[in-house]
Assembly symmetry: C2
Homo-oligomer: 180 residues x 2
């Protein structure tokens, strides 16, 4: 149940509407906790009712009205509580492993293609993260506090994609050799 907390973290950085939060998730926290606008809207409403956030409606011309949410005292308290509460480490969950394990039941070539597709996707994500690192953290040595934390999160994303790509390469190589 960490979407609440992911949103709260995002709101401490700056207030925003559901839509804006969804955009933000697409390009930052979402790397570690993806969420659709649907989910975000629902959770925001729930948190509003619980008093964790407050909203103010803002009329815009030419655009639909929006509700800008900001974190409330109760939300801040919940966030610090959650930060201090130990949580079980996440588990890996990737269907590609299952496919690979079952590859010999069907056509190995077709699974190989799937691994190649996934490799491409993960390589793309890796590139995106590297780009962000270059642009936003050109000198990581001098970072402190919140900036440092943000940098380290990004590093996690980079490492994860990197290692995934390396695994795909190992798999592709091994499957090709086995087939020839």
């Amino acid at each position: 149940m960490a979407l609440e907390h992911a949103i709260l973290v995002s709101l401490t950085e700056r207030a925003g509407s559901g839509y804006e939060l969804a955009r933000r998730f697409d390009r930052s926290i979402g790397y570690f906790w993806p969420a659709t606008h649907q989910q975000i809207y629902r959770v925001l409403r729930r948190m509003d009712e619980a008093g964790w956030v407050r909203h103010t409606e803002i009329a815009q011309d030419g655009r639909p009205d929006k509700k800008v949410y900001r974190i409330a005292a109760a939300g801040r308290a919940e966030l610090t509580r959650w930060l201090a509460a130990p949580e079980d480490p996440a588990v890996l969950r990737d269907g590609l492993g299952v496919k690979l394990r079952g590859a010999s039941i069907g056509d190995v070539g077709v699974v190989l293609e799937e691994v190649e597709r996934h490799r491409a996707e993960h390589a793309m994500r890796h590139e995106v993260y590297r780009g962000i690192q270059k642009r936003d953290f050109p000198k990581p040595a001098g970072l402190h506090g919140r900036d440092l934390h943000q940098y380290l999160v990004l590093r996690g994303g980079i490492r994860a994609e990197e290692s995934f790509v390396a695994w795909c390469d190992e798999v592709i190589d091994a499957l090709r050799k086995d087939r020839s």
Copy 2:
């Protein structure tokens, strides 16, 4: 919706009861697709109704009766269909990233401890996987077909845990330096 397929893959390797499958998941496919016995029982029943698997009840003395499931023709067909169908690459979803990102709102020290806890857990998993590799695949160079695929899946688990531990070390190191 890959639990169905994970179970089917497991059943092609050998038939088994819900309980046995749950045990198997704990120590093999579960590395890429964890599942509780509850879920497995429900999915087995659903697949039974759909004709993807068949079961035979086996009376045991001293122990409760069990239902041994084996894959049916329709299940095999579904499995090959699924193997050939492209799937979206999995996304990372780890609350630790969210915590790290929000660390400066609460006590950074407490988040640091959490990272250390997670590191320990992932290091343990890594050790377990390495142990399996040593025991079951002492000579990876000579592997082919299904054994090779199983080995490669294990490699994925090893790499993922390895890279997670390395990230934790980077984080721990950086947070300690920032605090001193």
